[in-house]
Amino acid sequence: MDDPSVDELLMGDPSSSVLSDRLLSDQEALTESRSYTRLMDADLRARLQLRRPTSSRTISNKSTENGFSVWDIRNLEYATEVDDNLMCPICHSPFVSPAALKCQHIFCRQCLSEALSHQQDNKTCPTCRRPTSSNSMVALPKVICRMLEELRVKCPLAFRGCNEIIPRGNVQTHLDRYCGYEEVLCPSEDCDQYLPRRLAGKECLHEPLPCPDCGEEVSLLNLNNHRMGSCKVAEIICTDCSSSVPKSMYEDHITSCMETVLKCTASKYGCDFTAKRSVMQEHIESCALVKLAPTIALQNDRLGEHARALKHLQQKNAVHEAFLDTVKDTLATIASADLATSSLPSDSAAPFDSPLSHLLSLHEALREEVSRVSAAVSDLDAKTDTAFLNSSLRAKEEAAHRDAVLAQLRVQLQWLVSSRLQGIHAARAGAGALGISDTRRNSNDAESSSARPLPSTRRGSDGLGNGGREKL
């Protein structure tokens, strides 16, 4: 078992995966065969049979001609659901001889080399687009390959009837040795034809033999098919009277066999009598329901006709009702829009061929008008909204400004009032001590000193004003 060398040998070959898998399975088969040695020794014929296909399989062309199944590992049907992590992101099937790139992304070797060969010059990993090269493919650890080879698949000959479920790596072995539906060489030394393995006994099944029924020469292999199909004489045993009837007569027989159990012909009208055909005639002659049957059938037909007619009328009625509703609606609209209609383009209504279409057109025109008006209204609405918003914004700003100014004035006023009060107090005190003449001078002092603290109050009010504006 020297896998890496096999891989290297086959790298770049499009059919490499299939070949390498076959090689692998052959190698496995070798080990497996050891355990079967005893079984094989017991059956020499089987061993002989094994040799032949194996030797002819080496030339692939010949094997196709000979009818040996050529299968593709990618076409295998898996018996169980395979973990998504084992799926190649390119072919969306479980990995077949997987290869990894340096970026640790894994693909089937064949998928990967195909994808890389399709890229122009700078090869990149299909998954992560990291730069790479065709040479940097690395085979996966053997243990993973072995796990993949152990995935259970259905036999590729399932379409012929084989129900086997086998590990993926053993498919070729299965076909070469065990599958009963694989074609093998005829055991007879003189015959070079093939037959399914399950039918291969000791004698040749291809030798033409006369059909026991018609005498036509048919091989044993095809005898069953012949008797069921093309043979004109072969007999079929009737299930009712258990007599054997020639195949060509069988169709007639089952319609006339006296033993067949039948239902009364009037069973659908309520007669539940059943009897063999031989007795049935008697019953039919006496059965009242059979006699009534033609009349009942006629009545049924008539009922059906009536039901159909009724359905048709109902449909018609529904259409008329819908039509009436439309007319009512139109009338209502016109009545509600009495004067407005006159302003609408009623002149253009003249060419209409019926009053109804005229009304409908008016209705349509009205509807258009309404939608136009509503569009205009919503337009206007939007416009007024924005205008209002704009003006109110400006007003708000102004109000805030005023607020600031007011606050400033209030501070000034307060200061003035307090200074005035102080002056009055001082004057009073001065009048008490120095006399009235000094009072004027004092008050002058108070007035001149009032110019000093002013800048500080202005600064304060500025700050207030700013604060008010920031809020906006």
Binding site: P89, I90, C91, H92, T127
Partner: protein, 164 residues
Amino acid sequence: MAGAFASRRLQRELPKLQATTSPGIKLVSATDLQEWLIDIQVMDSAHPLYAGQTYRLRFRFSGKYPIEAPEVMFIRATAASCWDQKPRSIPMHPHIYSNGIICLDLLDKAGWSPVQNVESVSMSLQSMLAGNYKNERPEGDEVFVRTNTQRPRDVNFEFHDDDC
């Protein structure tokens, strides 16, 4: 056996796509393994351009899919032919021509990767629409639409945009 690989891969994609749970992606028809139709929607219900709209994508697969990129474009459809009775138009986008041809590096020879699949491409286009707020066509749309006779995959686009 040129198309065997493609058929096998598409057969594996189909059931997954039919059972897809990706929101806004719906397989409309896949009667054969050559042409599939997919409806996509932008899931952003407040999107100024694509909210409430459904667009139809047409995927055409060559025999070399997924090694070769599929041909993907937006197509128009009448309301009567759609499951939701709404017509399909070509979305406005600076990289989508008004004949439905899409300028996306992912769908170009150089930008395609066989790892992509129908669902991932649909999702890429979904997000390409969701990320766009420009209500415009590519430069030279009229001339291109009038003069282009090539199939989308043969057109050589220059991808000068990072967000293309």
